[in-house]
C-alpha cells in the first residue's frame, strides 16, 4: 500500500496493552513503518478496493469536444494507462466507469441512461466538462440537458471547457481515492453492495415537447440558488 496518504501525521496508535493490535486498528504511520521492513498488512476490503481502484475500465463513449481531450489523455503524453484505466471498453457490459465527456442532448440522454443501466455494478460516473455537469455554455439550448445528474448519479464533476487531460487524470485520482475509502459492510457501505439502492434508472422517453420525464427526482436534488 505504497500510496497510502503520506501526509497523515503520526497519530498515536490506540495504545495496545500487550501483543499486536487488530489489523483494522493500525495507524497509517505504523503500517508505513512495517512496510519499510517488508511486512504488508491489509484487510480483504482494502485489497478488494485497491484492486478495483487501479483497474477502472472506462466506457469508450465520447460525446463532444471533451472526448478529444479524453482521447488525448489516453495518448502517449498523458498516458491514462499509468492509472490502469487505459482499457476503453466499447461495450458497457465490461466497463466500470462512464466518462460523460461532452454535451448530453435531450436526444442522446435516453441512450446515456440506457448505457448506464447496462453497466454492471460497481459502476461510477464522471461528468467531464461544463456541458456534462450543467449544460455548460449550451445550457439555454432547447435540446440540451442541463446536466447529466438530472438522470443518473454522478460521482466526480470535472469543470472546464474542455478540462485539460491532466484535469481528467486529477478527477480519476479523486475517484480512486473514493473507491479506496469505500466500505463493504455496515451502514455506510458503498452503493453497489446495497440491495435497497437501484442500479438501474428510468429511461426517459421522447415526448412532444421535452423528455418525459425530464428529470429523475431520485437523483436530482438541487438546493435553492445561493443568490435567491
Amino acid at each position: 500500500m505504497s500510496d497510502a496518504p503520506q501526509s497523515t501525521p503520526a497519530s498515536p496508535r490506540p495504545a495496545p496493552a500487550e501483543g499486536f493490535p487488530a489489523a483494522g486498528n493500525i495507524s497509517d504511520a505504523d503500517r508505513e513503518e512495517l512496510r519499510r521492513h517488508g511486512i504488508l498488512l491489509t484487510s480483504l476490503e482494502e485489497l478488494y478496493n485497491w484492486g478495483r481502484s487501479n483497474s477502472i475500465w472506462p466506457l469508450q463513449f465520447g460525446l463532444a469536444c471533451c472526448a478529444i481531450e479524453m482521447i488525448a489523455a489516453a495518448t502517449a503524453r498523458f498516458d491514462i494507462a499509468r492509472f490502469g484505466a487505459e482499457i476503453f471498453r466499447p461495450s458497457p457490459r465490461q466497463a466500470d466507469l462512464m466518462i460523460v465527456s461532452g454535451t448530453v442532448t435531450k436526444k442522446m440522454a435516453p441512450l446515456v441512461v440506457r448505457l448506464w443501466n447496462q453497466m454492471p455494478e460497481p459502476k461510477y460516473c464522471i461528468a467531464m466538462g461544463a456541458c456534462a455537469i450543467s449544460g455548460g455554455p449550451f445550457k439555454q439550448g432547447y435540446n440540451v440537458l442541463k446536466g447529466i445528474d438530472r438522470l443518473i448519479p454522478v460521482d466526480i464533476y470535472i469543470p472546464g471547457c474542455p478540462p485539460r487531460p491532466e484535469a481528467l487524470l486529477n478527477g480519476l485520482i479523486q475517484l480512486q481515492k473514493q473507491i479506496k475509502g469505500e466500505k463493504l459492510t455496515g451502514p455506510d457501505a458503498a452503493r453497489h453492495t446495497r440491495a435497497d439502492l437501484p442500479s438501474e434508472y428510468p429511461i426517459p422517453a421522447y415526448g412532444a415537447h421535452d423528455l418525459e420525464p425530464a428529470k429523475n427526482p431520485a437523483v436530482w436534488t438541487p438546493p435553492a440558488p445561493p443568490s435567491a
Binding site: I203, G207, A208, E212, A214, P217, A218, P225, A228
Partner: protein, 245 residues
C-alpha cells in the same frame, strides 16, 4: 457573370408567368437576391442549373428564415393649408396594420464549373401557420437534401417533392419548430444560480409555478406533455416518484 438585375430581367423574359423580384441587400456586402415565385421555383432552379451562361451546378447553403407577424405603424403626413392664411399645418395620421409573417428559404448557388457566384434565391411561404409548403429543390441539387430536412425540422416549412422529408435533428415525436422566433423552450429552470435578464424571468416563473404546484417537479415543461406513463419508464427498481407537495 451577369449582374442580379440582368439575371432578373432574363428570368422575367424566360418565365413570363413567374413573378421574380429583386431583393436589395442594404448591407455592406451588397449581395442582392432574387425572390422567386414559389409555384415555378423548381422550373426556374432547373433553368439556373442548366443555363450555359450560368451553370449554377452547386447549391452551397440552404437556410430557413422566420419572419414573424409584425405590427407596422404607418404615419401619413398631409399638409393642410390654414384657411386663416397662416403657415400650412402638417397633420399626421397614424394607422396600425399587421404585416403578415412568412417563412423563407434562402439558397446560395455557385458554379463549380465556371467558378462564379453566389446567386441568392429566396422562396417565401404564404404564412406561418397553414400555407407553409414550398417546392423542394432536392431533385435539382442533391445538396439540399439534408438542409431542407433541417429547415422542415426547425422552421416547419414543408418541401413538396422532397424524397425523404423527416425531421433531421430533433426526434420524430417532437412537435415544435424551435428555430421560429416565437418558440418557448421547455421549463427546466430549477438551478440557475447566476440568472439575470431573460433567464431570471424564466427562473422566477419556474419558482412561482413550483410553489403553486402547477409544475410537477418530475415532469416540468412549458407545454404540459401528455401523460404517457406506460411508455416512459421500463420496469426498474426506482420508479419515478410522483409530485411532492
Amino acid at each position: 457573370m451577369e449582374t442580379v438585375q440582368q439575371l432578373r430581367d432574363r428570368l422575367a423574359a424566360r418565365f413570363p408567368a413567374a413573378r421574380v423580384e429583386l431583393v436589395l441587400n442594404p448591407g455592406v456586402a451588397a449581395e442582392h437576391s432574387l425572390r422567386l415565385d414559389a409555384a415555378l421555383g423548381r422550373d426556374i432552379a432547373l433553368f439556373l442549373r442548366d443555363d450555359p451562361a450560368l451553370r449554377l451546378d452547386y447549391c452551397s447553403n440552404v437556410t430557413g428564415v422566420d419572419w414573424p407577424d409584425k405590427e407596422i405603424t404607418d404615419v401619413v403626413k398631409t399638409t393642410v393649408p390654414d384657411p386663416a392664411g397662416g403657415p400650412p399645418k402638417i397633420v399626421e395620421e397614424k394607422s396600425v396594420h399587421v404585416q403578415p409573417g412568412c417563412l423563407e428559404a434562402v439558397y446560395h448557388l455557385y458554379s463549380m464549373s465556371l467558378k462564379h457566384g453566389p446567386v441568392v434565391i429566396r422562396l417565401r411561404t404564404g404564412n406561418r401557420a397553414d400555407a407553409v409548403t414550398l417546392p423542394s429543390l432536392t431533385p435539382v441539387w442533391r445538396s439540399c437534401d439534408f438542409q431542407e430536412r433541417e429547415i422542415f425540422d426547425l422552421f416547419g416549412i414543408v418541401f413538396a417533392g422532397h424524397p425523404d422529408l423527416r425531421r433531421l435533428l430533433m426526434w420524430d415525436e417532437f412537435k415544435d419548430h424551435p428555430m421560429r422566433k416565437d418558440y418557448v423552450e421547455p421549463d427546466d429552470y430549477e438551478w440557475e444560480p447566476t440568472a439575470h435578464g431573460a433567464v431570471l424571468e424564466r427562473a422566477k416563473a419556474h419558482q412561482l409555478a413550483a410553489v403553486a404546484g402547477v409544475v410537477d417537479p418530475g415532469q416540468s415543461s412549458a407545454n404540459p406533455p401528455k401523460a404517457a406513463p406506460g411508455s416512459t419508464t421500463p420496469a426498474t427498481t426506482a420508479p419515478v416518484k410522483e409530485a411532492k407537495p
